[in-house]
């Protein structure tokens, strides 16, 4: 399979072409369109899985397959700015190249696997749309999105990533604006794209800096050259990574560019699940992890990543605590969880970031789809104040939603617990970790538990607040929608066991850890730098050993469980310790104790959050008590800290004002002479009807006007009196004489 991995992004294109061109006129069948679209995803998933297995069978160091389909761009010579790498000039060549390595493999499985489930779900969800109008359009866009997303994760250079990067942005635009009759949907779509473009501008500059530093955009060459030629803290690397970070904050909805994501909920719920929870928004995280070699060379950027992640997590979680719109809560929750991932990357725990990316994909997709299931049953109702006690009507949705809530809240044993705990541990103990980062993370964990529980209670428990008509129609959704929920629920439970923290590696868990460990799996990508290996020289040595066996995990967990374990390896926690040297064993024990402590605290905080939410909302009566109790703070959170308003006032409106001002300038000044001669303008307006209606005439017109008015002046000299003419001749002669005399 591995030699065919390049087909993965192309398979969904089949769906795009067939559905896009023929569905509206010739096919007109929801079943065909839906099955084709989902089928494409399934085939892509199958190819991805096959390649994954094959990749896992290879030695860790060799897990890297690259293919260049054709020369995309190749230009003439470019001179580099930086000679550190020894390349002074090179052509700008970008092959259309794809690569398959542990990170890409994992991302492919998440994208195609979760994507497939969401496609299936969408067949049910979108069934109200006619097959030849919205329905086919929806699936065409979805497949197109998948294709671009796969290019993004499979590309072998920054330029390839950029294709996918912009492509998914486009699909996001199209899908957010799917209900285009709604103005809000159109606005949201545009906002999403433009906010992303701001990030892209950063990405581009970062990319250019990289090119002019290394003479290539190919990952392997860039990272190798960077590791070989640059010291930690090199200015150019810091600049490049900062710029990339701007791009990442756009795509992954981090401060300061997160504002588009909540609005993006205007799209259909499967879109929110796929694009704005599971896949596209994680592209920023993917990019940071992919470029970890560069980021690790720049402590400043790393700090920025961590701080942005932490602050975003905190801010978004606080907003999520007070929202009433079911999808907005989830949207802010997504922003918050993405902040977690950034936090992980920022402290240097890239693999853990990816780990959380994966588990988050499971439970957030699940939550969105469950919320969509609710909406679907309630005819599009989004306000949680108009729900309640739905568990009675929608048992499967309820149960899966419950699983998702527990998972995200970090209840021990579920997926979110493991990944979140790893992040918190690294936030404290990682190479760039700091206690305050851990504290923020832990606080966010509590808030997460709080708002998720609040949501769960408001939607599924308590008394029904639906109106009668709605209530009478509420029903559980068909299997095509609930089956994906169940699969994702299972994944949300077991998905965490691919990355068991060090302190829990006891008994059967230790055995499992030895077989499957996501961190170790990603080591070829994330572990190639100094911090990761210092404490684990031994692990490196082990990595060199021939593989004793390769196990394919139980099928139960879908793709995620199929992680290769290598016998005889030490737990390869990437960022195990800050200090170097010393006895490994002692460190391990210290860490274990600390890790236990921290884990207990965070679990307690999470449970406290659940308890608090139950305390406030779980008593059967909907209350707006928090609103009263925390007046100012509540209102700040409710209004999302007025960031949208601020951006509108500072950027959007200023840009519009500037545009308007320039337009006036264009008309008045450039296009009208310094309108020195008011007379001229007046006369021109009178004299020539082609100038009509132009109140403000501009520079160019002004020249014309002065010509025009001087024409009248000149004509006035021509009085018709012959003696005046003679006089002018005499004066002319006199002037010539004097000119001759004085010059």
């Amino acid at each position: 399979m591995l030699e065919y991995f390049w087909l993965i992004p192309l398979v969904p294109l089949v769906g795009v072409v067939v559905n896009g061109l023929f569905a509206s006129r010739y096919i007109r069948s929801q079943l065909f369109t839906g099955v084709l679209a989902s089928g494409c995803m399934l085939v892509a998933f199958a190819i991805g899985l096959g390649s994954f297995v094959q990749l896992a069978g290879m030695p860790a160091a060799d897990r890297h397959v690259e293919i260049e389909l054709y020369d995309w761009i190749s230009t003439s010579l470019v001179h580099m700015h930086d000679n550190a790498t020894g390349v002074s000039a090179a052509p700008f060549n970008v092959p259309f190249g794809l690569q398959f390595d542990p990170l890409s493999a994992l991302m492919v499985l998440v994208v195609t696997g979760v994507g497939f489930l969401i496609h299936v779900y969408a067949i049910g969800y979108m069934k109200h749309d006619p097959p030849d109008k919205g329905f086919y359009r929806f699936f065409t866009y979805m497949n197109l999105f998948a294709s671009f997303m796969l290019i993004l994760v499979l590309g072998n250079s920054f330029a390839m990533m950029f294709i996918g990067w912009e492509g998914v942005g486009l699909c996001s635009f199209l899908l957010i604006g799917y209900y285009y009759q709604k103005k809000s949907a159109g606005d949201a779509a545009k906002k999403a794209f433009v906010a992303n473009r701001v990030g892209d501008a950063g990405f581009l500059i970062g990319m250019f800096t990289i090119f002019f530093t290394f003479g290539t955009l190919d990952y392997d060459q860039v990272f190798a050259a960077a590791a070989a030629n640059y010291q930690v803290g090199a200015g150019v690397i810091t600049f490049a990574t900062m710029m990339l970070l701007i791009g990442a904050t756009g795509k992954s909805a981090q401060i300061p560019l997160y504002v588009w994501l909540p609005d993006a909920m205007e799209g259909p719920t499967p879109v929110s699940a796929l694009i704005h929870a599971a896949t596209m928004v994680t592209a920023g995280v993917y990019m940071v992890v992919r470029s970890n070699v560069l980021f690790s060379l720049s402590p400043a950027t790393m700090t920025a990543v961590a701080v942005i992640g932490a602050l975003t997590a905190l801010m978004a979680a606080s907003i999520a605590m007070v929202q009433n719109d079911i999808k907005r809560v989830l949207a802010y929750s997504t922003v918050s969880q993405l902040g977690y991932m950034f936090l992980a990357c920022g402290v240097g725990a890239y693999a853990v970031g990816v780990f959380h990316l994966m588990t988050h994909a499971f439970f957030k997709a699940l939550l969105f789809m469950a919320a969509g299931s609710v909406m679907h049953a309630l005819h599009g109702e989004l306000d949680m104040w108009k729900m309640g006690n739905l568990r009675k009507y929608m048992p499967i949705t309820h149960k899966t939603f419950l699983v998702g809530t527990l998972a995200i809240a970090g209840v021990p044993g579920l997926a979110g617990f493991f990944s979140k705990d790893e992040i918190l541990w690294n936030a404290w103990a990682g190479p760039n970790g700091a206690p305050w980062l851990w504290a923020v993370g832990t606080l966010v964990a509590g808030m997460t538990a709080f708002y998720m529980t609040r949501m769960l209670i408001m939607v599924f428990y308590g008394d029904s607040r639906m109106d009668e008509h709605t209530e009478s129609h509420v029903h559980e959704n068909p299997h095509v929608m609930t089956a994906p929920l169940v699969v994702l629920a299972i994944l949300s439970i077991v998905g965490g066991y691919v990355g068991i923290p060090a302190n829990l590696q006891i008994g059967p868990l230790a055995a499992l850890h030895e077989r499957v460990d996501i961190v170790r799996w990603l080591e070829p990508v994330t572990g190639g730098h100094s911090e990761a290996t210092e404490d684990h020289g031994e692990a490196d040595a082990h990595a060199m050993l021939p593989q004793s066996d390769t196990l394919v995990g139980p099928a139960v967990g879908g793709e995620a469980a199929q992680v290769v374990a290598r016998a005889g390896d030490e737990p390869a926690i990437v960022l195990a310790a800050q200090e170097t040297g010393g006895a490994e064993q002692e460190h391990a024990e210290d860490h274990t104790a600390l890790e236990w402590t921290l884990m207990l605290i965070s679990t307690t905080v999470a449970l406290a959050g659940i308890g608090l939410a139950y305390q406030i909302y779980g008593r059967g009566k909907p209350v707006d008590e928090p609103a009263k109790r925390f007046g100012g703070l509540y209102s700040a959170m409710w209004n999302k800290y007025w960031v949208d308003e601020l951006y509108n006032a500072v950027f959007v409106n200023r840009a519009k004002d500037l545009g308007r001002a320039l337009w006036v300038f264009d008309d008045a000044v450039l296009d009208g002479t310094v309108n020195g001669v008011a007379e001229a303008t007046k006369q021109s307006a009178n004299a020539s009807n082609e100038f009509d209606g132009r109140v403000i005439d501009g520079t160019v017109n002004g020249v014309a006007n002065s010509v025009w008015s001087s024409s009248w002046v000149f004509r006035a000299l021509q009085t018709g009196m012959v003696q005046n003419y003679a006089l002018v001749i005499a004066i002319g002669a006199f002037v010539l004489v004097s000119a001759y005399l004085f010059l």
Partner: protein, 102 residues
């Protein structure tokens, strides 16, 4: 007694020229304007003849003969035009002919 030199003649002709030009500029009657034109021609003639006399060279006098002939023709044509003009507009006043302007 000072003898008359060439410069005296040149001065005289310059005066005559000036008077002629001033007349053309200021006289309202078109006949007078015509006569002032003749003054200008005659200024030139004085120059030519005087120069011819002071540096013995006949060309100047020949030139003068031609100039006088031309001036006669000019007056003839001029008067013809004045008559045509007078028939149309009943005036010989140059101030009053300004149909064409601008």
């Amino acid at each position: 007694m000072a003898t008359l030199g060439l410069n005296h003649y040149l001065l005289l002709s310059a005066l005559l020229f000036g008077i002629g030009v001033a007349g053309v500029l200021m006289r309202r009657n078109v006949i007078m304007v015509l006569m002032c034109l003749e003054l200008i021609f005659n200024a030139a003639n004085i120059n030519l003849v005087a120069v011819s006399r002071f540096r013995p060279d006949m060309t100047g006098q020949v030139f003068t003969i031609f100039t006088i002939a031309v001036a006669a023709a000019e007056v003839a044509i001029g008067l013809g035009l004045v008559i045509a003009m007078f028939r149309n507009s009943q005036t010989v006043n140059v101030d009053e002919i300004h149909l064409l302007k601008g």
